[in-house]
Subunit: 444 residues, 2 copies
């Protein structure tokens, strides 16, 4: 050997880079921020005209999720069955110290990233998909339905359904369905029934499909198909992957783990950063830290990294529909308007008109900052490459926004000399999105 | 909540599915089986004619790796710097109990799988790539060179070089280089310099390239180019990804972790299974358990899952070259002959003419069984789909052979009623190989 080291010194060295928890150290409860918000969360409302969406919610949603949506319990037990599934999905996920990146940036800041990219389907979406499918199974359902745009949510639900012993049906916006061959095969490998939307198998889809079998589709249409498909089958229920309170609740497992891991690092973040589309990964990572700000007087900066094609946190704070087709109740949120046309980007999961009501309220009260990056995504992907060359992990295009924002903050620290601890979430991996990097960065 | 469970019961439930270690529980030494083999390992030899390959080894290999190749120390400290890199790569990796798969197969067997698929590049290859690059850096090298066929090894070395602060040059068999666009972009994102082989930048490549710029290439040619490229640059060294003793040594981290994890499950395997091409993932997983057979009288079946296009363990046990171009010393191993033509398969990492000398010796002494699956790969991929629907993880095509063999053993247990514990290694993920599944299983 070049140089013998004692086990002790090897272990010390190791500690600098990564912390993971043992299987019996996973938090056993999710954190519900509703009772701790500075003001009560404005409840969903019906629009002035048309049928009541609120009264129809019990027919649309899994019973337990609907209860959680309005729960005022601060801590909600994670059922043992969901714990089993979290273990199957490889939780807990490590928290890494980005020592190589710090060196490369020559920053006095300490950079930490949470590794949701260890996910079986590639993103944090599995955290709520598993919970929802387990509850659906308990309630006696045999099938789940959903829509998907970029494909991350559809994949996660297909996965969770398979593990929970349910069938799954995914309505996938045709314009994406047509080219994401690998993601489609992945869902099929998981046993999912996947339809390009609009499809001929629902009445709302059939009208559009018959008019044009190559109709590009939209998330709004796909939602309508998923809802209709579940409504006409008493053994099926519909699942949603972001925006709602119970979805953010399930995602708090990310931040709760991260807090315990920060204790093992003997550190605490000054800044907490993630990308934000509907708000589920951002909320899941940030809310447990926001609790410390609200209740313990901690000072933390929270920064949401967005795209300028969908800077919903710079929109209006008002009641709006969550979907294009106006089938959902109206939610009080920052929104660009539910009919807003948004240009496609590689980080397609960030392309949503509104932000989750919980995050919106916190933004409105001044707890959350936001930054929106250029639609050409070149700078964002270049920063992801800097991260990758230093730390070795390929972020999902959406997560690249989180990485980019963290790097910019670290560079500011180099300039100011501030020794901040910066925590960011890498919500998914980019193995199924490499062509996006190739196109934007011209790697050919 | 449908049903409240105490934290304790949730934790108990969790324990059934998965065990991971804390960062400070990673084994701090690799296991070297050489002193424990039933007979001494036949040393490499020079061929009867031509220049001495043995005398040239110090010019070809990293000094520390060459020492390890012949070391008789049973335990070799993992340097702190390598530990750092293992932590960066997310080690340790969980050991899962395949509870859903057991149920689906209705088997009394207990199935456990090791999750090398958590790798940043998609396979176990990073375990030795990181060690080799760290040693290369210590020795003052600034660049590493290598060849790659399927692309897993080239990716792993690109990754490890980036993390260790080295440049990397990869010679990639042109027939694969031409179609694996994503893997090529992935290497480039990691900063690697990648050449289709034969290339015009080496003298051995140039002759072939000038004759035909679309020359399909071969692993043998790519090895020659990698060697030449390192030989003409005093700041560069060459790295190998399988077959050799020091490579298997580094990979024992897999089995050593698994043994500790079995203790936490309070169980011990009756069968240990993995796929086998050159032998590095099989050896890494199995050797620490074979030690218990050799030294503690434990009884374990070891099964190597292979392809019928390269059933090297059914070949002859004799001295043969490790490469097509006869540049390496001759190794005593099971071999199909180093000039053997082998049909391409999706599990391309299994397509190698010879098996590592250590595994070959153990096979010769009756410790290792082997099975070779059909070249159409349909059965293998169907079994991988069964695994995926139950456990949710997409195995690499190579790892699908390991999964398939484990499932067959579990089915035998159902028939015999035997309550065996079966351990198998899932050496990589299939995110970059989904088209292979699509083609073989007709998922379109």
């Amino acid at each position: 050997m070049l140089k013998k080291r004692s086990l002790q010194s090897a272990q010390k060295a190791r500690k600098k880079n990564m912390v993971n928890l043992r299987f019996d150290e996973i938090p056993a409860q999710w954190y519900n921020i509703l009772p701790d918000l500075p003001v009560p969360l404005p409840p969903p409302q019906d629009p002035k005209e048309g049928p009541s969406r609120l009264q129809n919610l019990p027919n649309l949603m899994i019973g337990e999720c609907l209860k959680q949506e309005f729960s005022t319990e601060r801590w909600i037990d994670i059922p043992g069955g969901v714990m089993d599934l979290y273990a199957k999905a490889g939780r807990p996920r490590p928290l890494f110290r980005a020592t190589n990146l710090e060196k490369k940036l020559d920053t006095p800041a300490r950079l930490y990233y949470k590794s949701e990219f260890f996910s079986p389907t590639g993103s944090h979406k599995v955290n709520t998909a598993l919970a929802q499918c387990w509850y659906a199974k308990q309630q006696g359902f045999e099938r789940v339905t959903t829509e998907t745009g970029a494909g991350q949510w559809g994949t996660a639900l297909s996965y969770a359904a398979a593990l929970a012993g349910l069938k799954s049906t995914v309505f996938w916006v045709r314009s994406v369905y047509n080219w994401k061959k690998d993601r489609l095969s992945f869902m099929k490998l998981l046993g999912a029934d996947v339809h390009a939307s609009p499809s001929p198998i629902t009445s709302v889809g059939k009208v559009l499909y018959d008019r044009n079998p190559e109709h590009a589709g939209s998330l709004g249409i796909a939602i309508s198909e998923g809802l209709e498909d579940s409504q006409k089958d008493s053994k099926a229920t519909y699942c949603l992957g972001s925006v709602l309170n119970h979805v953010l609740l399930h995602q708090t497992i990310i931040g709760l783990e991260a807090k315990r891991q920060f204790e093992l690092f003997n550190d605490y973040p000054d800044s907490v950063i993630s990308c934000l589309g509907g708000g589920s990964n951002f909320g899941g990572f940030a809310l447990p830290f926001i609790a410390d700000v609200l209740k313990k007087g901690k000072k933390i900066r929270f920064i949401a990294a967005q795209s300028e094609v969908a800077p919903n946190l710079q929109g209006k704070y008002e009641y709006d529909f969550a979907d294009y087709a106006e089938m959902t109740p109206m939610l009080k949120m920052y929104t660009l308007g539910h009919k807003m046309d948004m240009e496609p980007i590689k980080g397609d999961g960030l392309r949503y008109h509104g932000c989750s009501p919980i995050i919106s309220l916190l933004r409105n009260k001044g707890y959350i900052e936001t930054i929106a990056y250029s639609r050409d995504e070149k700078h964002v992907f270049e920063m992801a490459k800097v991260f990758m060359e230093a730390e070795g992990w390929l972020p999902a295009p959406e997560s690249a926004y989180s990485v980019c924002c963290a790097i910019e903050e670290a560079i500011k620290c180099r300039e100011s000399g501030e020794k901040k601890a910066i925590a960011f979430n890498v919500s998914g991996h980019g193995f199924l999105d490499i062509s996006g990097y190739r196109n934007v960065l011209g790697l050919d």
